[in-house]
């Protein structure tokens, strides 16, 4: 029905504006903070007018944090690099393992199939802290503490279920007849998987990969417990700004801006796939 009055439209616009302000204002404020000195930030009342400075970014990039208590080394760039490395390698491995697994769960009905799939998903239900204590003990035993390999392994807990469930929904959405048609045309199972199933599930795989990347990137607690400073990602690295002489709000803001930028850029670029991929998975998965 298309009966919309002027009043309805006005109310709709106002509501949308309120929601946008609620969600976007903190981001905007952080962005402003990253160009302010700590004194500007802590001024009461707060003011949007200040002399912008890039000293926060300078400190992050050079790795020298100058505070009242003296100069402090902060490995922020190293943390950023760790984030990139950990997240991307984790996602690639999760894709290599998860896409064929998702295909198997979607196409083949086998004993306990549903149970296994659900168990994998349930890893996402458990609070990370629940597994962390035993994990850190194991890791110390087998020497995986404070290694990239160990972290990437643990990150599979985040990435794998996500990829499995989103991509599975996508595979289920492809009519089996399309694959049958290709096989009857004389092509093997593997060629059908690589030439038909994977390309057709492409948007879903991309969406799942992106989402897994963002989740890995944003993870905090795994790396906090299982790795030391030189292996930690930005999320943990930002803790360094809570110094003995106070909290370095300006640097934190700049660090947030820097660390959010890559994921935000990717997410914006792939927004279309993300929404489409996620909603499909939700309906079918």
């Amino acid at each position: 029905m298309e009966h919309t009055s002027r009043l309805e439209r006005i109310i709709r616009i106002v509501l949308v504006a309120l929601i946008l302000i609620f969600f976007l204002f903190p981001i905007f404020w952080i962005f402003l903070m990253s160009f302010q000195t700590n004194e500007d930030i802590l001024r009461i009342p707060p003011s949007p007018f200040f002399t912008p400075t890039i000293s926060n970014y300078q400190a992050l990039i050079t790795g020298k944090l100058v505070s009242a208590a003296g100069t402090l080394d902060i490995p922020f760039m190293r943390n950023l690099w760790n984030s990139v490395l950990l997240s991307s390698v984790s996602v690639v491995i999760a894709l290599i393992l998860g896409v064929p697994a998702a295909y198997a769960f979607a196409r083949f009905k086998f004993r306990l199939g549903e149970d296994i799939a659900f168990t994998l998903l349930s890893f996402r239900f458990a609070p990370p802290l629940l597994v962390l204590l035993p994990l850190s003990l194991y890791f110390q035993e087998i020497g995986l503490t404070d290694t990239y390999a160990g972290l990437i392994w643990v990150y599979q807990l985040i990435a794998l279920p996500l990829i499995l469930w989103i991509v599975r929904g996508y595979f289920e959405d492809i009519s089996p007849d399309i694959e049958y048609a290709y096989r009857i045309g004389g092509h093997s199972w593997w060629r059908t998987f690589t030439r038909i199933a994977v390309p057709l599930a492409g948007p879903g795989i991309a969406a799942a990969g992106l989402l897994a990347f963002i989740f890995c990137w944003n993870n905090f607690v795994f790396a906090l417990i299982l790795a030391s400073a030189d292996k930690q990602p930005v999320t943990v690295g930002s803790l360094a700004f809570v110094t003995a002489s106070g909290i370095q709000y300006g640097q934190i803001a700049a660090a947030i801006v820097l660390s959010v930028t890559p994921t935000l850029a990717i997410a914006l670029y792939a927004q279309r796939y993300l929404v489409e991929g996620l909603s499909l998975g939700a309906v079918k998965g």
Binding site: S175, P176, D177, I178, Y180, A181, Y182, R183, I184, G185, G186, H187, S188, W189, R191, I196, P199, L200
Partner: protein, 364 residues
């Protein structure tokens, strides 16, 4: 040698048996239509032959070879699907060529074959289009071309005309027989449209409740259906079914319809005293203004034209509804209200009330 031979196939899913004890043979160049209502298991049967499902019991022989262990790609079939099953990320050309690329390396030969079949099916001008840019008719032809391009000895067509509009379906129905005969393939054609089955099939295998009830030529299936169930599936409008227990009078079976005793020809004598279902095709009921011998009074309740025919809904005086179809009668000459009807008694089919099997005429 039969190109396709199916022996005592059983196939069940969790929800129950879909096919039980199915046997069928198709000779070289023959078009066998597998006909049945939706859910009868027709598609499952084709999938078993294609090798994408496995039978629980029984064996399938293609060109004399037991294919139990052959995967779909090794069975040398062509298949067209109801939903076309085109590859959305490939052009029409690549879709068709996909049936060749696995075995044929030479691009020149592939191109020649694809161009040839595209010309035959009148889709040459859309070869570079993606499936989503094709009309339904073009999609259907592309799917058919993909099934035909490799010159398969055996062609499985799963209700390929289901998803095209009525006009196109009709045109394809006229064109398909010569196209299929020219290919020389043995064709198993699945449909749930009885007209398509009759128009295309050299023989029709009627699949009902998981088993073949009758395998015969189209004319035979229509004129001498094996069971009441088959009779009800062929014909538009559907055959009239009247329960009766004929009695014997002067050597003939006599039954009551609308308060009038009607007698059947001598060859129906054997059905007297049995509990029967009489199947009377609407075109075997003749409606007249004036009463005659063996006519019974009816009320014309409604007249619904059907193409060049008129379908009359009649009500007898005991409240039974029967349909009559007449061709070539000026529609405006018919009036709602009282009239008389009589039967073409020679065309009456008599089925056993309990089993549904035809008991008379014995052979037609």
């Amino acid at each position: 040698m039969a190109q396709v031979e199916i022996r005592n196939i059983h196939k069940g899913f969790k929800s129950g048996a879909v096919l039980s004890d199915i046997s069928l043979t198709a000779e070289t160049g023959e078009i066998v239509v597998v006909f049945g209502p939706s859910g009868a298991g027709k598609t499952v049967l084709l999938r078993l032959i294609a090798g994408v499902e496995e039978p629980d019991e029984g064996a399938i022989f293609l060109q004399g070879r037991d294919v139990a262990d052959a995967p779909p790609e090794a069975r040398g079939l062509g298949m067209a699907f109801q939903n076309f099953a085109l590859f959305p990320h490939m052009s029409a050309y690549d879709n068709i060529a996909s049936a060749l690329t696995a075995r044929e390396r030479s691009p020149a030969i592939i191109k020649a074959k694809v161009d040839n079949v595209a010309k035959l099916l009148k889709i040459s001008h859309v070869m570079q289009h993606a499936p989503r840019e094709l009309s339904n008719g073009q999609k259907q032809r592309t799917a058919l071309a993909r099934a035909l391009v490799a010159d398969p000895r055996i062609l499985l067509l799963d209700d390929p005309l289901r998803n095209v509009d009525a006009k196109l379906r009709y045109e394809m129905r006229l064109e398909l027989p010569s196209l299929l005969k020219a290919s020389g393939s043995t064709v198993l054609y699945v449909t749930q449209d009885y007209k398509e089955a009759m128009a295309l099939g050299d023989k029709i295998a009627v699949l009902l409740e998981g088993g073949f009830v009758q395998i015969a030529t189209p004319t035979e299936v229509y004129r001498a259906p094996a069971t009441l169930g088959v009779a009800r599936l062929f014909g538009d409008p559907t055959i009239n079914v009247i329960p009766a227990e004929p009695s014997l009078r002067d050597g003939r079976s006599v039954f009551d319809l609308g308060g009038v005793s009607l007698s059947l020809p001598a060859r129906y004598a054997a059905v007297a005293g049995k509990s029967c279902m009489l199947g009377i095709r609407p075109e075997s009921i003749i409606v007249e203004e004036a009463p005659s011998a063996e006519s019974f009074p009816v009320e014309v309740v409604a007249i619904t034209p059907l193409n060049e025919k008129s379908v009359l809904l009649l009500r007898t005086y005991d409240g039974r509804e029967i349909l009559a179809a007449e061709a070539g009668v000026e529609q405006s000459s018919r009036r709602i209200g009282a009239a008389c009807a009589r039967l073409d008694a020679d065309a009456v089919l008599v089925f056993d009330a309990a089993s549904g099997r035809r008991i008379a005429p014995v052979q037609s």
